[in-house]
């Protein structure tokens, strides 16, 4: 049997293009949207997005957003936009193995909110935390502006698909000067529910809106998980974040989807005066995953820190596209991403810092460091500076390498076994990203995940060496 990869290579460019267009159209045709409660202003937007599925430019490797992404492989698999959650299925959130955090909690099963699993009691006054669908029914006007600026370059088709088909997602609104006393935890539990023979898995679309009014402050933790490692599905997530003057958001995203899953996240952050956005992204799972994060500074003295860690195993492709746009003076941004490639997979990192002509006194720094632990792993990294102002401090640094043999030797000479030494060095490499979690439970959880991953690598290696 031929693998999908080989199929993609056998096709002509025209065949691949046609397949891609049909892939998108098929999803639209087969989809079922609960549009009956949509506010009036949303219907034309949905309609427009629907139409554009047939007209928007197709994705290809010549676009910088998809350069290293083997995007054609996606379209070899057809996904089912139609599925029913099995309401009989009993899920116990505590059994999933997530860290126990005292939080407000929203749980989405295959993209639909499950209030029975959520924890929304005692929300402080001035905070709305609910599903996007519910918010569209009850407070539609508040959501309108979040749909104003939609199409992110390079991702348009997927964004249009999301706009046309999303059924639910997270809606968080924090009023002026309100501080959320507990973190908001969002759990996306995804599985393959398709019953159709033609489809390999289900298509899940979520649409999130996070709005912080001036002086507000919140912490949001997102967990992308699955029941087991063999579920096949596609999760297309779009998050719009708006941070008003002096607001502050800590945003943690932990992508631990099934190892057969496709995951696409678009996070779009608009920052106003003196607002601060701290985010840490971890990416462990997914067969194919791509996270595109775009920060746009719209007023002075805003700051953002984007941190991230990805581990890439056999067959995995993990892609991060960061785009920080300094459009006004005196903002600060830092991006620090690290990757550990422990299997025959591929990591793609693309980070752009744009400084507009009027954005004097910008301070921007980007680093991307990668560790390759095995043969046949591949890293494609592309840090970019696009600078149109002179009085700025901008830098980027990138490294790709292996564990330092001298460090390994030093540790071994002190009696530490090689596999432990390797593990310790990898954990050391990841430390500053993990330390960026404010919550101890998340630090422990992340360390544990990495240790587990590294353990399995080392035992596999020893197994191989044994033969």
């Amino acid at each position: 049997m031929k693998s999908p990869v080989q199929n993609a290579q056998l096709q002509t460019p025209q065949q691949r293009q046609q397949l891609q267009r049909e892939w998108f159209q098929q999803l639209v045709v087969g989809a079922e949207v609960d549009a009956e409660y949509d506010p009036d202003w949303l219907l034309p937007l949905r309609e427009k997005a629907l139409q554009s599925i047939s007209t928007l430019p197709l994705l290809n490797r010549k676009q910088e957003a998809w350069r290293y992404n083997r995007v054609d492989n996606i379209f070899q698999n057809s996904f089912d936009p139609l599925f029913d959650n099995d309401l009989e299925q009993k899920i116990c959130i505590e059994d999933i193995g997530l860290p126990a955090i005292d939080s407000y909690r929203l749980v989405f099963i295959n993209g639909r909110i499950d209030l029975s699993l959520s924890e929304l009691s005692e929300l402080p006054a001035g905070v709305i935390l609910t599903g996007t669908a519910e918010a569209l029914r009850t407070i539609p006007d508040q959501l309108m502006s979040s749909f104003d600026h939609l199409h992110q370059p390079g991702e348009q088709l997927f964004t249009a698909l999301n706009t046309a088909l999303f059924n639910d997602g997270v809606y968080l609104h924090v009023n002026q000067s309100v501080t959320l006393d507990r973190p908001v935890e969002i759990i996306y539990l995804n599985n393959n529910l398709t019953r159709s023979e033609q489809h390999v898995g289900s298509m899940i679309q979520t649409r999130n809106i996070i709005d912080l009014e001036s002086g507000a402050s919140a912490t949001v933790i997102e967990h992308f998980i699955s029941n087991n490692k063999h579920e096949k599905y596609f999760h297309n997530n779009f998050t719009d974040i708006n941070l008003a003057d002096d607001s502050r958001l800590r945003h943690y995203r932990i992508q631990d989807e099934s190892r057969l899953a496709y995951h696409l996240s678009n996070v779009q952050i608009t920052q106003h005066r003196r607002s601060r956005y701290f985010s840490t992204c971890l990416a462990f799972g997914g067969l194919w995953s791509k996270s595109a994060v775009r920060v746009e500074f719209q007023a002075q003295q805003a700051e953002c820190d984007l941190l991230g860690l990805y581990t890439v195993g056999d067959q995995q492709l993990t892609d991060f596209h960061l785009d920080v746009q300094h459009r006004v003076p005196s903002c600060r941004s830092s991006e620090q991403f690290k990757g550990i490639l422990y299997g025959r997979g591929r990591a793609v990192f693309d980070g752009r810092i744009l400084v507009d002509r009027q954005a004097q006194h910008s301070d921007a720094a980007l680093t991307n460091d990668n560790l390759l632990l095995v043969r046949d792993a591949e890293v494609n990294t592309k840090p970019q500076l696009e600078i149109y102002a002179d009085d700025v401090k901008c830098s980027h640094g990138t490294t790709v390498g292996r564990l330092d043999p001298e460090q390994l030797f030093y540790m071994r000479s002190r009696g530490i076994a090689e596999h432990s030494a390797r593990k310790m060095l990898c954990q050391g490499f990841a430390t500053d990203i993990i330390e960026s979690f404010e919550l101890q439970q998340l630090r422990d959880y992340a360390s544990e995940k990495i240790a587990h991953t590294l353990n399995s690598v080392e035992s596999e290696m020893e197994h191989k060496n044994g033969h």
């Binding site: 490639l341 890293v379 600078i387 002179d390 901008c394 980027h396 640094g397 790709v400």
Partner: protein, 489 residues
């Protein structure tokens, strides 16, 4: 020879002042009678060029294949530069000073031409006596003079025009031409392969260290002509050569196209050092006129422990689009790229390098210094690829940008592809300006603002200048100071 140059530099104050005022020093036109094709490009044009040069059939066939390929290609758009579409039918593809077919010594060169080269500061006669460097001069499309033939021939080195090489060393040309940059490589390389008119050919036999620096000066004189030269340098096992090129053109209101191809081949233990000081006419302050410098340069380190080093100082041209690259095929081979690119006025540069690591233990170093002033747009674009077989390969890249003024721009677009766990890649980039504190410090010590700026700029470029041969380093530094004169303040 060093002292002669030094004196020249120190006593030259007045001419330099003149140069400052004139803006671009090499903007004159030499009234020389030339044999120029009417504008237009077709298979017929190529037949005519080939006939004019009395070429063997295989060259013509190669040209025609390239031309057909070119017709099917599209003008590249990915570079961070903007220019109106180029009308390839409006330019002439052949222009040569009217003179005898072949020249054996400088005495046979048109005195007007020698005068022109003297004006450019390339006194062929003097160079012969003083510098001990062999010079090939390409005027518009054809090579007009090659000095020092005899002593080079004694060492077994072939240094001649490409046209002559095709006639006299066809087996070498046929073996290597297009072997590093195939005609199908890219749009401008295909165009060059179809219509190239001349260029320089260098062959260094096994074990020979070329006894002197080789240099070529390129000059576009005629209006409405494109210049398409091809340079091919082959260094056999254990040989070494240092090659310099310089380029200038008259000031004209229209844009002229320069689409050259350079191919280098280094066998086992061979070393090629290729230095460029590019000062084509950049256009005026408003961006009118100037050369489009769209060049494909690539070196193949085919042999073990071979070494190719590119050094470039790019101050001219309205638009520069070039990526001198190294294919590091042989184990333990080394590739280097040192670049200073200056853009001011409305100049745009999209330049950098590709280091393709294929063999084991290959090493590459990239040092790129971009300076933007005025409305200049300066882009570094580079690719470092560590292929599966590049065990223990190493790359270090340093890209620094200096911005002078708030209307210019500096961009860095590095692509890093690593497929080998034993390879190591490091990339660093910074952006800076000259701070008020630095200027005040220098001025407090009695140094004028202009001198302080040029001192700091030269300091910024030092790592690159030190890679140039001595005479060129002095020239490059002068050129840089001239280019930035009045750009800061």
């Amino acid at each position: 020879m060093r002292s002669a140059l030094k004196n020249d530099q120190e006593n030259d104050q007045t001419p330099i002042d003149d140069l400052i005022r004139s803006g671009y020093a090499h903007g004159f036109v030499t009234p020389i009678e030339s044999d120029t094709f009417p504008p237009g490009l077709s298979e017929n044009t190529i037949l005519k060029i080939s006939a004019k040069k009395n070429e063997p059939d295989w060259v013509l066939e190669w040209r025609l294949k390239a031309y057909r390929r070119w017709l099917a290609m599209e003008d590249p758009e990915w570079a961070h530069v903007k220019h109106p579409d180029i009308d390839f039918q409006s330019m002439s593809y052949y222009s040569a000073p009217k003179k005898k077919e072949s020249l054996n010594s400088l005495d046979e060169v048109d005195p007007q031409l020698l005068e022109a080269y003297n004006k450019l500061g390339i006194p062929l006669e003097e160079q012969k006596a003083l510098a001990g460097a062999a010079v090939d001069a390409v005027f518009d499309s054809v090579s007009v003079a090659t000095t020092f033939r005899k002593s080079l021939a004694d060492a077994g080195v072939i240094f001649c025009s490409m046209s002559e090489a095709i006639q006299k060393h066809p087996q070498l040309v046929q073996k290597y031409m297009g072997s590093v940059v195939p005609y199908s490589d890219n749009f401008y390389a295909a165009l060059n392969a179809a219509v190239f008119t001349d260029g320089t050919f260098v062959y260094i036999p096994q074990g020979v260290r070329c006894p002197m620096e080789l240099s070529t000066y390129f000059r576009i004189n005629e209006a409405n002509t494109g210049q398409f030269e091809r340079t091919l340098i082959i260094a056999e096992a254990g040989s070494s050569v240092s090659y310099l090129e310089g380029c200038t053109a008259p000031m004209r209101d229209e844009n002229q196209l320069h689409a050259a191809v350079v191919e280098l081949v280094a066998m086992d233990d061979a070393s090629i050092k290729y230095s460029t000081v590019q000062n084509w006419y950049p256009g005026d302050e408003q961006g009118k006129g100037g050369i489009y410098n769209f060049v494909t340069k690539r070196g193949a380190c085919r042999g073990k422990r071979s070494h190719i080093s590119w050094t470039q100082v790019e101050t001219g041209s309205a638009i520069t689009w070039k990526y001198p690259s190294c294919l590091l095929i042989g184990d333990d081979s080394v590739g280097e790229f040192y670049s200073v690119a200056v853009t001011r006025g409305r100049q745009q540069a999209d330049t950098g390098t590709k280091m393709i690591h294929i063999g084991a233990n290959t090493k590459s170093t990239i040092v790129s210094k971009g300076i933007s002033a005025g409305h200049g747009q300066n882009t570094y674009r580079g690719l470092v690829r560590m292929s599966k077989g590049a065990v223990n390969a190493r790359n270090h890249t340093q890209c620094d940008s200096l911005l002078l003024g708030d209307q210019c721009a500096a961009h860095t677009f590095p692509y890093i592809e690593v497929m080998n766990p034993d390879a190591e890649v490091e990339h660093e980039a910074t952006t800076s300006k000259i701070s008020d504190d630095q200027l005040f410090y220098c001025r407090q010590r009695g140094i004028s603002e202009e001198d302080a700026v040029s001192m700091i700029v030269n300091g910024f470029c030092k790592e690159v200048f030190k890679e140039l041969p001595m005479e060129f380093a002095v020239e490059a530094q002068k050129l840089l100071n001239l280019t930035l004169e009045g750009a800061v303040g």
